[in-house]
């Protein structure tokens, strides 16, 4: 992890610690909890999309696997939430592995379609297997998480839990990016042919990062199930998969920080747009369009560009002086 990443991480952690001191209202904390959940998924997706160059329009399925596994195990099989959380991770990893093997052989739009199709199939199964999943009505009474003597029920305790996990996942991912495996992943994005010639087993690494991103989504799903205590298929449809991909692209695919920026923006936007009433859907679409038209590299790209311009200006100034 470079110095730049350390500084960014420090700023993020600092901000997260200070935030509850200034924002006392549990409503804002609640919004931040959901942004945290989304962040878990988008960090994984940015590894998959930005670093390994593979798209997925089916991540709602892994979010769902996490949520439903946790929900079903705790309500019907008598599991405690924490063991259920890890069982869900294991199951999601297996599903992602099995799906990843044939799917990741595909490229471009074919890969997009295959992941989309997988996500839809999972969505249909959630709806159709009523005995198991409760069908379209979903099911509730999912217990809350108990960590030692602390029951994760208040917004602030959820905030602490989810953002601690986000920070851990972030450190884990940043370490990964700047390692042997991470470089191998990025090399796939650069040139799969050359990566192969350098001894990189591209299919293995693609599957690894696909599984990893699925695990992140599963974590988010489990937490979602225990936080909201009710789940139904409508939370895990194609729109969700598209939303998380959009968050990554809007923020910028070139780094995980972009994913976080995008998640913050698109997570907050609907709350900010509450004042627009019915028009929020129009404003939302419009903002999205503007961002993509004017900063096609995402917001992180914009920040880099501004920095670049700044540097150029200072270089020019120096040149003039000398």
């Amino acid at each position: 992890m470079g110095a730049k990443n350390r500084i960014s991480l420090g700023v993020l952690v600092g901000g997260l610690v200070l935030l509850p001191l200034f924002m006392r209202n549990p409503y804002y904390i609640g919004v931040m909890v959901f942004i945290g959940l989304y962040s878990l998924i988008t960090i994984g997706l940015s590894l998959l999309m930005g670093y390994a160059g593979q798209i997925s329009l089916g991540h709602a399925a892994f979010f769902a696997t996490g949520a439903y596994t946790s929900g079903i195990l705790t309500t019907k099989a008598g599991f405690a939430p924490v063991p259920a959380f890890f069982t869900a991770i294991l199951l999601t990893a297996c599903v992602a592995f099995l799906i990843g093997i044939p799917t990741l052989r595909l490229k471009g739009h074919y890969l997009a379609m295959a992941t989309l199709g997988f996500g839809q199939i999972v969505y249909i199964i959630l709806n159709a297997s009523v005995e198991f999943t409760g069908g379209p009505s979903g099911f509730g009474e999912i217990p809350r998480i108990q960590l030692g003597s602390i029951l994760i029920e208040s917004q602030i305790s959820r905030y602490c839990l989810v953002w601690s996990l986000v920070i851990l996942v972030l450190i884990f991912s940043l370490n990964l990016i700047n390692s042997r495996v991470g470089r191998a992943l990025r090399s796939i994005h650069g040139s799969e042919l050359a990566a192969n010639a350098m001894g990189v087993n591209t299919s293995k690494h693609k599957i690894q990062v696909f599984v990893l991103s699925a695990i992140y989504a599963s974590m988010a799903g489990s937490l979602y199930a225990h936080f909201v205590t009710f789940i139904s298929p409508s939370s895990f449809d194609l729109k969700f998969s598209i939303l998380v991909v959009t968050m990554v692209v809007v923020g910028g695919m070139s780094s995980v920080w972009g994913a976080l920026v995008g998640t913050f923006l698109l997570g907050l936007l609907p709350e900010l747009l509450r004042n627009f009433r019915d028009y929020d859907i129009l404003v939302y679409g419009f903002v999205l369009l503007l961002i993509m038209v004017f900063t096609p590299e995402g917001l992180i790209g914009l920040i880099d560009r501004l920095k670049g311009a700044q540097e150029k200006r200072s270089l020019k100034a120096q040149a003039k002086l000398s």
Binding site: L282, L288, L289
Partner: protein
């Protein structure tokens, strides 16, 4: 279920499958010229249907006048969308363009919600609603209309691409953009044209399906999704493959709903699609070379 029952299911599959195919052709035209999957394609279908319903219902115009007006209006929307949102970009990534089309689909949907409200509308059938009996199965006259329009659209497109200068230029663009621009094809114009043409085809699909499927501002998404499936199954960029794949998906869905279980009919169609992709990673009629060339 007897033979006539199966025939009935196949008719049902062909009706809906032809719409999937038509939407898929729209995907293909834009894909060929730009490499973009236009996620707003389904909204063109919805807009076509809704505008037609307004013209026929509220403005009380006869069908044969409303039809071209509705198609023209959507074509204009498609062209405007390209000019305002796609045209100004310099060297954007394919993924960026895709997100732009998603944003546009949100905007179109929102606009339609304000223009027409949230209710579901129906359009009168083009001719009588009395079912026609064929070998014991029944079809609506509207189905005949739909199949007729598909045939006309496909023939017109074939003529356009094979025999007209502009059509040939579009095909040149699809084969190799830089080479096309070298021989004097104005690639930017062609991209504009591809959006307009796709929008027009989407509008036709929306108008002809509206009498039997009803229409509301949310309809575009699901039709777009099915159309995308058909486009991929047929091999992206291959309009003939798209139509065939559309029929295939429609028939698989209908047979599954009629013979196995309606609960899983959409899933079965998707599983067939995935199986095809796993065996032939570039769809039924796509070339592997093309799928290699165009990636994100």
């Amino acid at each position: 279920m007897g033979g006539s029952g199966i025939l009935q299911l196949i008719f049902s599959g062909i009706t809906i499958g032809s719409i999937y195919g038509l939407v898929a052709v729209g995907f293909d035209i834009i894909y060929n010229c730009t490499g973009i999957i236009n996620f707003a394609q389904g909204e063109f279908v919805m807009l076509g249907g809704m505008i037609m319903i307004s013209l026929v219902g509220a403005a009380d115009l006869p069908m044969w006048i409303s039809f071209p007006i509705a198609v023209f209006a959507v074509t204009l929307i498609g062209a405007l969308f390209e000019r305002l949102c796609i045209h100004p970009l310099k060297k954007p990534s394919i993924l960026t363009l895709i997100i732009i089309t998603i944003a546009a689909s949100i905007l179109f949907k929102g606009g339609a919600m304000f223009a027409w409200g949230k209710q579901t509308f129906s359009l009168p059938h083009f001719s009588s609603e009395r079912p026609i009996s064929i070998f014991g199965a029944t079809i609506l006259p509207q189905t005949v209309w739909i199949l007729g329009f598909i045939a006309v659209v496909v023939l017109l497109l074939a003529f356009f691409f094979k025999a007209t200068m502009v059509g040939k230029a579009m095909r040149a663009c699809a084969a190799n953009r830089s080479a096309a621009s070298l021989v004097g094809v104005n690639v930017k114009e062609i991209v504009l044209l591809s959006f307009a043409l796709s929008a027009a085809i989407g509008a036709v699909a929306g108008i002809i399906i509206a009498p039997i499927a009803l229409m509301d501002y949310e309809r575009g998404m699901i039709l777009g999704l099915k159309g995308f499936s058909a486009a991929v199954l047929g091999g992206l960029g291959n309009p003939v493959g798209a139509v065939v794949a559309g029929f295939l998906i429609g028939i698989v869905e209908a047979l599954c709903a009629g013979l196995l279980s309606s609960h899983y009919k959409d899933a079965v169609a998707l599983i067939v699609l995935l199986a095809v992709l796993f065996i032939r990673p570039s769809g039924l009629f796509g070339s592997l070379e093309a799928s290699r060339l165009k990636k994100f």
